[in-house]
Structure formats: C-alpha cells, structure tokens
Amino acid sequence: MTATGYARSLDLVTRVRGVRGAMIVSSDDGLVVAEHLMEGIKGSAVAALAASLAHRLRRAMAAAGVGASVFWHLQGEQGALLVVPAASGIVVVAVAEPDVNVGMVRLELLRAAEAVR
C-alpha cells in the first residue's frame, strides 16, 4: 500500500466526530507506519503503548479461549484508545474523546484495517 493509501484510510477514521487522531502501527516493534494526529498527541508513544498492550491482550485472550482480537477499546475518564489488529503485524489505532461513538470508530478502523491488508 502507498503512503497516499494509508493517509486516505486514516483520514476516514479521523473524520468521525470525537477522534483526535489515528495511526497505523507495526505491532511487532511498536513503530509508526503512518499517522494522522491532532497536535499534542505523541505518535511514537501511542504506537509503542498500543502495540505493547495489544501484545499482552492477545496472549490473555488466547489463554481465555476467545480467539484472536478483532477490536479492542481502552476507556479512560478523559479519552479512549481504540484498536483493530490488521494482517501481517499491523494495528490500526485511534485516540478519541471519552464520548466518541465507539461503533462508528470501530467501523472505520475495520475498513482501514481491511485496506492495509
């Protein structure tokens, strides 16, 4: 996929009201592949933390027998982190306001994940 393709996928995610930014991250090493973030959000930190959490969550879910993660959502008092694992060690991540429409973001993240497959 080209840089333009990544940018277009992320752009659709960030159009959802309440999304502060979106990025594509390599889950193996926690590095940024592409990003579309509001000012003030540290892309490298988001990437590293999301990848690390995704890794731990994947192992816990496998142990629980619920299979591979399709989508996960960390809710905080002041915001949320939403993640969709895509193919070949990539995760698509969004950082959002606490009152974001989670269902809408999920849909766009799944579309983006499909696009980068």
């Binding site: 959000i41 930190a45 988001v46 933390l49 999301a50 690390s52 959490l53 731990r56 969550l57 192992r59 816990a60 879910m61 142990a63 629980a64 027998g65 619920v66 299979g67 591979a68 993660s69 399709v70 989508f71 996960w72 959502h73 960390l74 809710q75 905080g76 008092e77 002041q78 915001g79 949320a80 982190l81 950082v95």
Partner: protein, 292 residues
C-alpha cells in the same frame, strides 16, 4: 501405609477396573500426594462414572487442593447418585458451613444423622454447628474438628466417609464473590494486583479450567492499560473491552488493586457485556469492602 499403597497400585495395574482405586486414591490423599491421588481418582471416575464413592473421593482430593467449587459439584453429584451417601452429606455440610450457610449445613448433617444415627461425629458436628453463630471464626475450628477423623467413635465407614475434608478456612468464601451472578463459575474472574485469583472462575469453550493461565496474563494487561491511559492523557482507565473471534471480554477495576474480567461468547453483544461487567463490579466492590 506405603506397603499398602504399593500393593493397591499393583492390584490396580493388574485390573484397571478394580475398585481398589478408591482406597488407593484416599491413601495417597492422606499422605499429601495430591497429584497422584488426583490421577488415580480421575482414572477411576472414567471407569466408574456412576460410583458415588468415586465422586466422593474426587471431591475430597479437590477439597484438599482448595478447589472448593469443584469439590462441591462432585459431592453434589455423589449425593444425586446415592442420596444417603455419608461422605457427600458431610462434605456438603462442611462446605455450607464454611460459607456461613448454617441452615444448609445443619440440614445436611441432620440427613446424615438419619442415615447413621449412631455416628457420634455427626452428633458432635451438629452440636457445634448449632451452637455457634453463622460461620464465626470460633465455630469453624470446632465444627471442623468434629467432622475430622480421629473424633471419638468414628463409624465403620465406606472407604472415604470418615473425613470429609481437611482444608483451612478461607478461600471458599472468596470464590463466592459473584454468587448469584450469571456465569459466576465460568465467565467471571476477580484478581488482585499481582494476578492472584480472589474469586470467580473461567472456563474455555471446551469446559477446561483456564482461570490461572488467564490470571497470569491479566496482571500484565492491567499494568499496561494503566500505564497507557496515564501516558496518553486518558485519565484513569475505567474499562477495556475486547472483541475476539470466538468471544468477548471486558476488564474493569472494581478497586484500586483489583481487576475484574468478564468473558462471554460472541452471542452476547459488547454493550450487554459492559452492563454485566458493571453489575459484577458492584458485587466485587462490595465484597472487597467487606474484606478490608
């Protein structure tokens, strides 16, 4: 005892269908060889699934391993197969007593007394249980002692009937955190900060107990979630919902040092799972406050 174990093992090897596994399993249990006893009991149960004594033996071993929930199930099964089974009645009575349900404990002991009216240990246990406030610390050792072997005038029992169990008081109450909640024994888990199981249990879709394995991984998830929320300016994390290919999970923090996990299959929508998690968190919070 060692010689008897050797003899019984040889006999069981010669005839795997023999009922000597009952005596062998209990001897191993009494010697504290719980893993070996567990294997013997399970093999015996596979061959004799309708034997109340086999379920009773397995329940004793589980109780010694402090797996009280499953011990309860096994004694319950033994009693369904043989309603007057002394070991099952005494075992269930003791478990009820441990969770503070004195009425049920007395009911089971009275039933045991009807089956064996001359059993002094039952009369002694009944007197102790009736004479103490519900599940009080003072009552436990006394009633416990009354049900243990070595009490005066023990009856000539079926092989496993003389000792319902010999665990210390404690974890059974812990496992009752989610009593009455849907999925309390297969889809709800309460952990402390170190990943130790405080209550609930988790089974995979094949029915295998995955409680400890998941608990071990979740300690890391909780720490990482807290770190991520803090560093990304999300404030305190309030929940982590994840959609899997086969099921959904929801994590919450009912207390500062506790983690709650709810697992359901994919037929339960994520929103409903969040509601279930909220209810479980209330129960967990209440329980944690009682423990404090």
């Amino acid at each position: 005892m060692a010689d008897e174990i050797k003899t019984l093992s040889a006999e069981l090897a010669r005839d795997p269908h023999s009922l000597v596994f009952l005596r062998l399993g209990d001897l191993l249990r009494q010697r504290g060889q719980l893993d070996a006893a567990h294997r013997v009991a399970l093999n015996g149960l596979e061959r004799h699934p309708h034997s109340a004594d086999a379920h009773d033996l397995y329940a004793r071993i589980l109780a010694d391993k402090r797996d009280y929930e499953r011990a309860f199930d096994e004694w319950d099964m033994a009693r369904r197969i043989a309603p007057g089974h002394m070991g099952a009645l005494k075992g269930l009575a003791f478990l009820y007593f441990k969770v503070g349900d004195v009425a049920q404990a007395v009911a089971h002991l009275e039933e045991a007394e009807r089956v064996a009216p001359d059993d002094f240990t039952i009369q002694q246990a009944l007197a102790m249980v009736r004479g103490q406030p519900m599940g009080s610390a003072a009552a436990r050792p006394a009633a416990h002692a009354a049900l243990r072997p070595g009490s005066p005038a023990p009856p000539p029992p079926p092989p496993m009937a003389e000792e319902p169990m010999a665990p210390p008081a404690g974890p059974l109450e812990d496992r009752r955190v989610f009593a009455g909640l849907e999925g309390a024994q297969e889809g709800l888990l309460l952990l402390d900060a170190a990943g130790r199981v405080l209550g609930g249990a988790l089974r995979d879709w094949n029915g295998a107990d995955v409680t400890e394995a998941v608990a071990a991984y979740l300690a890391g998830v909780s720490l990482e979630a807290g770190r991520t929320a803090k560093l990304l300016g999300l404030g305190t994390w309030t929940g982590l919902a994840a959609e899997g290919q086969l099921g959904h999970v929801h994590l919450a923090q009912p207390g500062p040092d506790a983690l709650l996990l709810v697992v359901r299959d994919r037929s339960v929508p994520m929103g409903r799972l969040a509601i279930i998690a909220q209810r479980a968190a209330i129960a967990a919070r209440r329980w944690l406050e009682q423990q404090a």
